[in-house]
Subunit: 236 residues, 4 copies
DNA sequence: CATGAATGAGTGTTCATTCAT
DNA sequence: CATGAATGAACACTCATTCAT
């Protein structure tokens, strides 16, 4: 039944078209956001030309401004898409978590790796470090949308640990950065110095994170705190 | 003897000239390099205008190009000039150190702060991180002159601790970065996000380093390894 | 009889279509022209965006280009559409007028206000003035359709006044503009500087026209010509 | 004495050079201001490209921005140079004026013509009319620097006339525009419609102003106010 | 040697116009 | 016929670099 078929074909095509158009409003920005993330991370915010972003996304410069009113808004959208949009879900997970606090901390490190560190989003902290001074509005945005919720999340974990007697009392304000700094360092090593420092480039993230966790819980000291799931240290 | 005289005059003038030029080649670039360091650290490479560098150094834009053929060369000179080559001296100090390894580690953190963290040199890591992609040759230089000797120094401390039974066995390659990451993070926070993140800006370096040391030695765990909680600074 | 039916259907549809198109060609451009007049007068040719015209007319940008091949053609159509061709009717009124010539002049001012000054048409002079250089063909059209008949009409009034001994002899060519200039100035002040010059924005047209009339008849001089100070509006 | 001569020549050249450089800071902006006035008047503010201004002044785009920080500031400088800068001098002249007020008014019209109307500055009012809506800041500037002092100056003349019994009492707010409107109309006729309207283009400014003055003093009325220096009306 | 006026390529952003659906 | 997504030319403004003095 060629007619029916052809009709069906046409209908299918029309449906396809419709679906494609529907998706477009999401899809085009998606490609643009991906291209922007790549380029921003690689070259920095200022050094990235919007035309290049558009080109990499396969559209023209004008099209980019159809979806994002300015370069800065494009950047914010990149951050929202890749980081701040996920804090809600993340917070919920920790609300529901009912294991020990060390396990919670370990889960935190691992899920950071899975969702940020192992993805392109890991380039954003480096980006912010580089550009914060020159684009105060972006820095404020990042502070509000990423730093604040991120440090709050970690602080809550630490407080839980102390409240349950699993962690020693501490000054949370500083403790937070003991957790955070090695994570950010890992992210940065991937996107800047790592490109040319072999000892950074050869880091195995899983081992790095395991070492980070162990150190956080027990330190380097000779008698590790009892009850910790010790990961066997491996000497290379 | 007019000839002789004139010749002598000329010779004197030439010598004067030469001396002045010698001095200049050191003096003028010195001011320019200092100004450039400040501005590159503060604003990044791209956002720093050569005119501003020249102005801060008290010379004209034209003069800057008399000493550095391009902005890129100026940048390279800035980084090279400010990369500390003091690892030999530092190494010696640690050779002679005869206290406990935790004390040695603490001394390491403190002297890093005194000699790098608290000085302008603390801006170099941020600079390298931001621009490593754009100046790979410089990154290699940094890797060779700073990262390698720096991590080697830390690794030796850790090895000493393990050898003496003060530290638990560990994978040194990763342990090194547990020491290093929070230091670099502190340096970077001073020069980038700190400008707009209040919780970063309000960090007190001494407390930050103390927390870092405690965490390194004992971790967050509830039962700290005995004998390591003391915070007495030890002089080598 | 599917064929006939279908044909009939098609014919009906075509007729419907045709009718709709007919209506459209009048209706749609009408709304577009009205919107365009508003915006061109308010913002000038260059600063008016076709998208805004289309939006104000309730259609899409694409539709506008369906009716007008370019922004320039739209502009020309706007001006042509709004250039009053009512001078014949106006002339007749003045032919039949049988009051004094000052009263006739006063009626002229007032009816200019009623029919032009107070309406959207008052924007056309501003538009012509702003864009005459860029649209010489349009300026010629305006000159032919408006300036010439308008000045001729005023000149005839002045000639009547002189002929009847009500006005002093004068050089009509220049006298005409003494009547016209303050009218056009009033129109322009409404559409340009008035927006920001308070002393222009606060002008009350009726008082402005009254002052204009008095000045035309008697001047500023201390002893006004007798019998002309009365401001009674006269109906033709 | 060729040597002496050549030396002298060199000295002359050096002096010339020095003088030329001295002048440059004034001269270059002068050429730019002239070019800008021409183009702004001819094409409007928005439609004039700064590159074109620079090119007409014989310099590059960059050079223009060396002297004027933005296109808007260039415009303001044009207005200051050509109009508002002259009000001080103008005001003084009228302070010192000791003839009759009609003579003063006549002098006002004539000096407006000499200093504004007959010069390129006559294009500025048209410019402002065209652009006021789109550049509110420029409009405010013009209102503050030109309209306010200009109308104040005229108003003072009218007040003087009334105070001395030379003019009839009047509402100054409106009277001012009876003086101003025909002047501005004359200026505009030169720069927009005049380009294509022959009856505007053929106006002889001196006769136009004479007619304006007569009409202002005596009106069209049959019995001119006594004591006015009547200019014989000429019928073409 | 030192200057700073001059340059012009490069950037973010706008908007008339096109065209596939 | 109507739409609106896509385009790309155009423009104000910046800044590294040059060079005549």
């Amino acid at each position: 039944m060629p007619h029916t078929h052809s009709h069906s074909d046409t209908a299918d095509a029309a449906q396809d078209e419709h679906a494609r158009r529907e998706r477009r409003k999401d899809a085009r920005p998606g490609e643009l956001l991906a291209a922007a993330l790549d380029l921003f991370v690689e070259k920095g915010f200022a050094a990235t030309r919007v035309e290049e972003v558009a080109h990499r996304a396969g559209v023209s410069k004008g099209t980019l401004f159809l979806y994002f009113p300015s370069k800065e808004e494009l950047f914010k959208a990149v951050v929202r898409e890749n980081i701040s949009g996920r804090f809600a879900e993340w917070n919920e997970e920790f609300e529901r978590f009912d294991g020990s606090t060390p396990a919670m901390l370990q889960y935190c490190l691992n899920s950071w790796w899975d969702r940020i560190g192992a993805t392109k989003a890991s380039g954003i902290p480096k980006l912010m470090m580089s550009e914060a001074q020159n684009f105060p509005e972006l820095a404020a945005f990042y502070q509000h949308e990423v730093m604040r919720p991120g440090t709050a999340l970690i602080e809550r974990i630490l407080q839980r640990g102390v409240a349950r007697g699993e962690f020693r009392p501490m000054n949370y304000k500083y403790g937070v950065f003991m957790v955070l700094a090695p994570l950010l360092f890992l992210a940065m090593s991937k996107h800047s110095l790592g490109a040319c420092c072999d000892n950074l480039a050869s880091l195995v993230p899983e081992e790095y994170l395991a070492t980070h966790f162990e150190t956080l819980i027990s330190g380097f000291g000779a008698s590790p705190a009892p009850g910790t799931t010790a990961m066997e240290p491996t000497n290379p």
